[in-house]
Amino acid sequence: MSKPVYVGLDIGSSRTKVAVVDSERRLLGHAVKKSGTDFSVTAGVCLDASLEMAGATRGEIVNAVSTGYGRSNVAFVTGQHKTEIGCLAKGCYNRFPEAITIIDIGGQDNKVIKLEPDGRRNSFKMNRKCAAGTGAFLEEMSFRLDIPLEEMNGLARQSREMVKLGSYCTVFSATEVLEHIRHGKKVADIVKGIFYSVIKRVLEMDSPTERVVMTGGVVAHNPYIVEMAEEMIGRSVLLPELPQLAGAIGAALYALEEKGEANG
């Protein structure tokens, strides 16, 4: 029996994310992989994995939309694409249908998107041409500290006395980190300082409205960053079940809605 599905592919600079939804907007399957150097191959692998999870085949794809840095590299699936900003807005509003500020911390860029109560975009900001405060910044710091990326969250949580970093620049921050190590500061305290710096960078891009939603791979893999953000903003933050998939889900919902419109 045929199972019509709608696919969203978010080809990010760091990770490729694919989401499969049905006509009732239910998430049936998803996959995440490192984007690597061949975006279309990675997208194909993710697509098949998420279809398998959904119990569907490529032949059952009714419509697909791509987004992200490599959105034009998946012509084998779809020629339709939307911006990450549009897809994040769509995905988050579907989960939290109210006026929200979305803070997305991605691999190479950060976004702050404000939505009206009816879901329309009010404004958006992307970070300047600088990776400070993004996932790339964390990767660089993990390399400098010789700590696996996945251990940073646990380390930051152990901190008792955070070491603040003062620099804007990833390279200068790395130098600062080395200086703190030389002065005998604890690695856990430095890692918490690195997390603090990430949140600070993104919060200075725009002032968030009352309800804040956080998304992105950095948030998904470092829940302590969300706790720290809540402390800094002074209120609780909303999180979708799969923060890293928000853009891909939004793209899948676009695929569903646009097919609906086309058919209607």
Binding site: Y69, G79, K82, T83, E84, I85, G86, D109, R120, R121, S123, F124, K125, M126, R128, K129
Partner: protein, 415 residues
């Protein structure tokens, strides 16, 4: 899947004539400098060019040359040469590109105009700091390099209302340049000739204004990207008959487009305003980016900065002073906000793009909360693009594309 036909910006036919005019202008300068038949003055783009022409100088504008370095994408390779002698990558990339070109003995004029080997050597350098302090430092370097005097006007900055006191000050400064300029030119200033030059500048500027205002039509017959090219004569040949004749021809072509209902961008769906400098090395890409999305960037502060309603042949010195002071870049934010709101209304704008040029703080108006204030008052959404006029190391094409696409999605959603 069928190939999607991409919307392109249409070519303006008068461009061929403009190219000939610009060629004549540069060959004239080259002849003046190489034969010594006429004196050459270098002038900042809104410096006292009328006075220089009235004294018989051929007038060369280094900013125009720097823009050529940018548009030909030569600048990013030349800027480091200026950085290496102490001119920071954070200061004006017109300055660093132009000085870098001089250090390396390179000019795009040689490629564009056969037989021209270098920029025309100056007899005098004349600046007006109404735009920024960088022009004075830029000319100071050439003054040392060529051993010629650098003189000029230091303008007040951040002015809301241009007062009589401001005009008195700048007018006196312009008049104080006359003895030195007369001595170098070897001639006395003929006031009738100055009046005539000011009158020609006024006529040129009126026509340029009419050209830009054709973009009030929907669809707009021209874009900001056309404007950055076709402003050439208004920048380098104001005060001459040839510029006036050119703009008459261009205006006729654009007026005909309006009569025919022809837009510069087919199926114009969004009307955008550009605030700030162009990204010279990305003019074509940006033009295509917007036109492919059926958006027309049709008005700008930048192109409109060569409209000088104050020029008055009856009062040449004071009216020159007033014209140079009334420039947008000289003004404080209260004036700028009022000006922008007027432009948004006049051109029926759906969205405003602020170019935050890394090396040009004076022409980047997104740094003191102005976009937020204008947006709050007009409800017209805005986007800030990070980039630069000439240093492409400060430009991220992917970020620009994503930002522009998302901005147009936002405008479409708001309808």
């Amino acid at each position: 899947m069928a190939e999607e036909k991409l919307t392109m910006r249409k070519k303006i036919q008068a461009a061929d004539r403009m190219n000939r005019i610009m060629a004549d202008y540069f060959y004239g300068l080259d002849e003046a400098a190489t034969t010594g038949k006429r004196k050459v003055a270098w002038c900042t783009s809104v410096g006292p060019a009328e006075l220089l022409r009235a004294l018989g100088y051929d007038v060369y504008f280094p900013e125009n040359h720097a823009a050529m370095l940018g548009a030909t994408r030569m600048s990013t390779d030349l800027i480091p040469a200026a950085n290496a002698i102490g001119y920071s990558p954070d200061i004006c990339s017109y300055l660093t590109a132009d000085i870098g070109a001089c250090l390396k003995g390179i000019t795009p004029l040689s490629k564009a105009y056969k037989g021209i080997e270098s920029v025309p050597k100056p007899d005098v350098l004349v600046f007006n700091t109404n735009q920024c302090r960088d022009v004075q430092d830029w000319f100071a370097w050439y003054s040392r390099r060529f051993g010629v005097p650098s003189i000029g006007v230091t303008s007040p900055k951040n002015v809301n209302d241009v007062t009589e006191a401001h005009v008195d000050d700048v007018s006196r400064q312009i008049q104080a340049l006359v003895p030195t300029l007369e001595e170098i030119a070897g001639t006395k200033l003929d006031m009738d000739r100055l009046r005539e030059t000011v009158s020609l500048s006024r006529e040129c500027t009126e026509l340029w204004k009419q050209v830009l205002e054709t973009a009030t039509a929907a669809p707009s017959p021209l874009t900001f990207f056309d404007g950055t090219i076709h402003m050439g004569p208004a920048v380098v040949l104001r005060g001459t008959r040839v510029a006036i004749d050119y703009y008459k021809e261009l205006l006729a072509e654009l007026t005909q487009r309006i009569r025919d209902g022809v837009g510069a961008v087919d199926d114009e769906s969004s009307r955008l305003y550009w605030e700030g400098m162009p990204v010279w090395g990305r003019l074509r890409q940006h033009s295509e980016l917007f036109s492919h999305l059926k958006a027309s960037v049709l008005a700008s502060t930048y192109c409109s900065s060569w409209i000088f309603p104050a020029f008055d042949a009856q009062d040449p010195f004071r009216s020159m002073a007033k014209a140079y002071l009334e420039l947008f870049i000289v003004r404080a934010d209260r004036y700028k906000e009022t000006y922008l709101k007027g432009m948004l209304e006049k051109f029926r704008i759906d969205g405003i793009i602020y170019h935050d040029a890394k090396t040009c703080p004076y022409n980047s108006n997104s740094r003191y909360g102005l976009p937020q204030r204008v947006e709050a008052e007009t409800g017209i959404p805005s986007l800030v693009l990070s980039g630069d006029l000439n240093d492409l190391r400060c430009v991220s094409d992917e970020q620009t594309k994503t930002n522009v696409e998302a901005f147009l999605e936002q405008i479409a959603e708001g309808r």
